[in-house]
Every structure is written in C-alpha cells, then in structure tokens.
C-alpha cells in the first residue's frame, strides 16, 4: 500500500514500513548520517539524521523511524540544522584535536560532518579520559580516544561476521567499545578480517602499519625486495587513481612497483593456481570415499582462524593447503630467487592484500624463515605510491617478462566470493574426466550474493558446492551441516561480504558501485584470458616438475600444507 507524505513541501509516495531515510535516499534528499550503514540494522544511536515532523514535539531519526500517512517532513529546517550542529559539537567535546596526524585525515566522517555543518570552534570541552591504544594485534589497531560510539564496528562484527569480538561495554557516560575483560583484539574472538576498519567513521580502528618496515627494506642495499599482489589490487589501483581498469592496468602496476624499488613483482594468482591443483587432488581423494566432506576451502585466513578456534570439530574438513599468499612466499623464497642465486634470507617478500587478516597469517606462519616478511593493505600501497611520487600518467606498462608472471584467470577469480570454487571445479573436472569443462563459466557462482549454490555433474556424478561470504553466513551454514545437511561436497568461505573485493584492506568508503566495478574487472579478465584453468598454466606445470612434486604428494604436503590441528586455541 502506498502512503502519501510530504517532504520539504514536495508530495512523495512511500511504501508502508519504509524508513524516512530510505524515502529520502530514493528522492535524492541528502541528510547526514553517522551510525547508519545500509547493510546493518538501524540503531538510531547518533541522531545525526534527525528530521522535523510537523505535529511531533521532538525531532525523529530518519534512519529508524518509519513513514506514516500524514507525515510532513522537513529535512533541513533551522531547528534541524541547529540540532545536527550541536550533535557534532558534542561529539567533538572529547575528541582529540589531532586531525593533521590522524590516519583518517581526509577520509574521516566526523571531519566531514564538522565541515558540512560548519563547526568552526570548540564549543564544549570535556575531559579526555586516559586510554590506551590497543597495539598488540598484528592486523588491527584500536585507539578508543577517537571512538564516537556509533557502534558500526560492533554491529558489523556481530551481524556480518558473527563473532562479536568488540561490543559496547559499561553503561551511560561510561560506555565504550571494548573487548571482554579489556584483553584487546589479539586475545579474544577477533578473526582479524578488518571489516570494522572499513566500517569505522573515524580513526579509532586502523590497520597495523607495515609500511615503515617496507620503506626501510626498499632502501636497504643488503636486501632483495620483491612484491606479490592479490588479484584484486589492479582494479583497486585503477579505481583509486582514476585509470581505466583494462588489461594494461596489471602491467602499469608492475611498472609502478618496479619504480618503487621492488626487484620483481608476482601476481599471487600463480599461487592460487597451485592452491587449486592441490585442493583438487585432495578433493578427488576424499570424494570417492565420502570422507571428510564437505571440503572447506582455506584461502581466507579469517575463516581459517574462526574454524580452528571456535569449531575445532570441523578442522578435518578444512583443506590443509596453505593460502595463496603463504604459498607464493614459499615459492619465491625457496625456488624463484634461490635458483637465481639469491640467498633466501636476503629476500624480503612484501605482499599487497585487500585484507588485514593476512598480516596476522604471515606473522604466525613462522618456522624459522617466514615465507612473507611484510603484508601491506591496498590502502597502504596507495599511500606508498603517493609517498614515493609515482605518477601513473607518465608510466609505461611493464611488459610481462618472466615465466612467473603467468597465471590463469581461475587464480585471479580468488578475489571474489565463488571465484575460488569456480577455478577449483574447472580443474577437478579436468582431473577426473580428462576433458576441459565447457563452458568454463559457472553462472550460479557469480554475482554479489551472500550464498551461492551450484550443482555440477562430473562423470555423470553430481557434486553440490556452496560459496558463502560474510562469516556469519558461514556460521549459519556450519549449523545446517551440524544439524544433518549432508548434500554438499565443497564449501568455499570468505569472511568479508562478497569476498576480497570488499576486504578489510580495501578503500575506505566503498559503495556498491565500486564493488560492482571490482567484480566486473575480475570477470572481464576471465572473459579475455586465454588460460582459464589452473592446470593449463604452463608455469604451474613447470613448477610441479622442477620444484614441487605431484599434487598432494609427500613433498608438496611438506611445503604447501599446514596442519590445522596443531593451531593453538585462544
């Protein structure tokens, strides 16, 4: 049923049950918001979106108030503007005045609101509570002084990720966002996915920076710095520097990385191809015996951590193959550079990821020599490009030179939820039938959806596969499996909604349009690329011949696998 309401004198029809904010967004009236995120349930905590409704004595929050038939709404009346300004002034009362030195300078929403509502002086002054910055976690850093208690981080962590590692603690003016027993993020349920960072409007949550270490390594003549980057990086760089996201962008990126001082650059998709080969072999061993199925993919470190810590009963199901990042580091250090005569302790492997959990993963995979020495997020890479004065307009695309820059488009698809499965199935199909899948594309596993299921026939035998993204959805699926669902053979999980294209290390303030752009970039590569399957990648064949052995052989297990049962619990 349609309702007639009036917004700023304009007649508008709205559906029953819609919030005022939904209607305002539809008709293009912009009101400022702070605690609101479209993917979360509204909380109405910050009151920034208040509007005036005629006949009501108080202002109502547009994000959580539903439209009603008689409503006459004023969104920018003097009373509303004054209330919003006061709200910002109150938020600033105990906010540190260090915008110039803040990580979020320029991307801070509080800064934006203060500018939008023209706050020009500090009206209220309240005491700064002495707080400690939580720096113990290798992935995420939390500065409670900058927190405005909007609750976006805790709602993302609870509703989207499902672990509730941070939550409101205390009451009234003593409320703060904290961890249980104030133990900090490194010692609680946190899976390090970093979704809270991209949800945070201020600089309260940021990644732990590895950038200073990388800059130092680049300037150290003793070291041989090399870089590996996730398949989501080219599209993200194109987006950030307003470049066309086409085939050239990959080579432009390589050229930029070379200019920064990296001696060699590698696309992690190569290691994703290795991951596929191993995982396909493991699946084909388990499938006929119907043992330890469904097989869970292990490329997402946040998911791996969740399963190891919270659902140890499913550890056997987890693929023992290391994530592409760790495989790539191993291959670089133990094979590529060592066959060029460079000692592995001189090689400094930097990895550029859309992810903060990868930082912790690299840190904790430490048997003497770490495969990856430093992990930076895409945000850190963008900063580094600016810091080192790289100008894309004057760069020539670097021609693909070495064999190790070849990777299949299957490996690139790892960047999006469903992509890992798609690549994996293509190789499973080949390994069991001897023929290539045609068409290679699996439509059911594509698009921006939290859960994608597909049914594929291999040698007339059906297999059911599910790709879930957003860890909370994976937890729901685990519960289904625990309650008896047994028709699934492979489950791919990515902790961030829609996978790495929306990872915790991606640009702050990405909207659905940019997500679609990043998704399209990966699918386009798959359309255009000649080598669409991991097993068709000549480099892989070469690597398996010269460095590794047959997929899932003892040698490969030693180099590429991880024993999840040995991981320590929190």
């Amino acid at each position: 049923m349609l309702l007639n309401i009036e917004i700023n004198g304009q007649q508008v029809s709205a559906k029953r049950g819609e919030t005022i904010l939904t209607v305002l967004n539809r008709i293009g009236v912009k009101v400022p918001t702070l605690c609101y995120l479209s993917s979360l349930s509204p909380s109405g905590a910050c009151r920034m979106c208040v509007v005036e409704v005629e006949g009501l004595s108080h202002l109502v929050p547009a994000c959580s108030h539903q439209v009603e038939e008689w409503m006459q709404i004023h969104t920018h009346s003097p009373r509303v503007l004054k209330a919003r300004k006061t709200l910002v002034e109150l938020l600033l009362a105990n906010h540190p005045d260090d915008c110039l030195y803040c990580d979020r300078n320029g991307t801070c929403e509080l800064q934006g609101l203060s500018e939008e509502l023209q706050v020009r002086d500090r009206k209220y002054i309240s005491r700064h509570k002495p707080v400690q910055i939580d720096k113990a976690c290798p992935s995420i850093q939390r500065d409670p002084a900058k927190c405005v208690l909007c609750g976006r981080c805790s709602r993302v962590c609870r509703e989207i990720i499902g672990v509730a590692a941070i939550d409101a603690v205390g009451r009234g003016s003593h409320t703060r966002i904290g961890t249980s027993y104030n133990r900090g993020l490194n010692f609680n349920a946190c899976v390090k996915c970093g979704q809270c960072i991209i949800a945070c409007p201020t600089g309260a949550l940021t990644e732990r920076k590895a950038l200073p270490m990388v800059i130092e390594a680049l300037g150290n003549p003793e070291l041989y710095p090399v870089v590996q980057f996730s398949p989501t990086v080219p599209a993200a760089i194109a987006e950030e520097f307003s470049l066309k996201s086409n085939k050239d962008i990959l080579n432009l990126l390589r050229s930029a990385l070379k200019k920064m001082g990296f001696r060699q650059s590698f696309d992690v998709s190569l290691a994703a191809d290795i991951n596929i080969m191993e995982e396909a072999a493991i699946f084909l061993e388990r499938w006929p015996r119907n043992k330890m199925l469904p097989l869970f993919t292990s490329c997402c470190p946040a998911w791996v951590r969740y399963l190891e810590v919270f659902r140890p009963e499913f550890r056997d199901h987890l693929s023992p193959v290391k994530s592409p990042q760790q495989i790539m580091g191993t291959v670089i250090k133990q094979y590529i550079t060592s066959s060029a005569g460079i000692k592995s302790d001189k090689v400094f492997v930097v990895s550029v990821m859309p992810c903060t959990a990868k930082k912790a993963e690299a840190e904790f995979d430490n048997n003497g020599n770490k495969p990856v020495d430093a992990v930076i997020t895409i945000r850190e890479l963008v900063r580094m490009i600016r810091l080192l004065g790289i100008d894309f307009s004057s760069l020539e695309p670097e021609p693909t030179d070495t064999a190790f820059s070849l990777s299949s488009s299957a490996g690139r698809l790892f960047g999006i939820s469903g992509g890992h499965l798609e690549g994996l199935i293509r190789s499973i199909y080949f390994m069991s039938t001897g023929q290539d899948m045609n068409p290679a594309k699996i439509n059911d596993l594509r698009g921006l959806k939290p859960r994608k299921e597909a049914r594929i026939k291999i040698n007339k035998q059906p297999i059911n596969v599910v790709a879930v993204s957003g860890l909370a959805n994976a937890i729901a699926l685990l519960d289904e499996i625990e309650n008896g669902r047994d028709d699934i053979q492979i489950v791919e999980v990515m902790a961030c909604p829609n996978g790495c294209i929306n990872g915790g290390g991606q640009k702050i303030g990405s909207d659905e349009k940019s997500l679609k752009g990043r998704m399209k970039a990966l699918y386009d590569v798959d359309e255009e690329e000649m080598v669409k399957m991991a097993h068709k990648n000549p480099t892989i064949t070469d690597l398996f011949d010269k460095f590794l052995s047959k997929p899932n052989s003892t040698r490969n297990q030693e180099i590429l696998h991880k024993d999840h049962s040995k991981s320590s619990e929190v």
């Binding site: 609870r158 509730a164 590692a165 939550d167 409101a168 009451r171 027993y181 609680n188 349920a189």
Partner: protein, 150 residues
C-alpha cells in the same frame, strides 16, 4: 555449578541474565571461566556477555571482600553529601570504590538507591545498614569490623 547450568536450556539467549545472577550468587563474582562456560551454553559470544554484564551494576568481576561496603549514591543520599562519606572510607581503607583491599577484608562499591531515602545517607556493610552517621564515626565503625577478623 553444573546444576545451575542444567536448569537453563541450551542456546536460549534470553536466559542470560537469570543464569548470570545465579552463577554470581553461587560463586560470589563472575570469573572468566564462568563467562566462557555461559558463552558455550547459550551460544552467545563472550564479548556480548561481558557487554551485558558491565551494563548492570549488579554483576561483579572481582571477588568481594569479607566485608562488603556499599555507599549509596542515589539522589537523596547524594544531596546529603554521601560523597564525603565515600571519600572518607576510601581514605581510611586506602582503596577506590569498585575494588578490594589488599588483605581482602573490605571491598567498597557505590550503589544507586537502597530504598532508605528518608535515612540518608545510607551505608551498608554486609547485612547491616548504617544511617545518620557523621563522617567522623566511620573510622570507629571500620575499626569494629577490623577487630572482628583479628
């Protein structure tokens, strides 16, 4: 403590507060282990439980002293300058409100209202209520309790 858990059905988050209340009654305060057990029992993340429990004044995360002192800070007692009583006790026992003395004999906390507004300011030590005291009387009251244990 298992008998308390048995009374509450698994995975029912609405049982959180009564369960915590009973466990606290049994144990005196909520330990990390208790919170973790509740988390597994009701399928609520520990952090959520900690958030809920810190919202209410009734839940404690530290052991009480042998003598638990509650100083009322409700409106009426507040107006009757219960703060000076609180400060005096803090000075005498060398503890802050919300903590326990080193010898674990006294713990001190503030509460919002004990329902004795006409007798303000009200102070309670274990089950004994004190009212109409002067600040100077406090050292005598505490001395009696101290001697009880020696």
């Amino acid at each position: 403590m298992d008998h308390i858990f048995e009374k509450y059905a698994l995975r029912k988050p609405e049982n959180l507060i009564p369960l915590l209340q009973e466990l606290q009654k049994e144990n005196g305060y909520l330990t990390d282990e208790i919170v973790e057990k509740v988390s597994l029992h009701l399928h609520i993340p520990t952090n959520r439980i900690y958030g809920v429990a810190t919202f209410y004044d009734q839940f404690r995360f530290r052991q009480r002293g042998l003598y638990h002192i509650q100083v009322c800070r409700g409106t009426s007692c507040y107006l009757c300058s219960s703060e000076s009583y609180l400060k005096e006790i803090e000075k005498l026992l060398k503890v802050q409100a919300g903590s326990v003395t080193r010898d674990k004999r006294f713990s001190l906390e503030t509460v919002n209202c004990m329902g004795g507004c006409s007798q303000s300011p009200v102070i309670r030590i274990n089950d004994t209520y004190y009212h109409h005291l002067s600040v100077a009387d406090l050292s005598e009251v505490l001395r009696i309790f101290r001697e009880k244990t020696e």
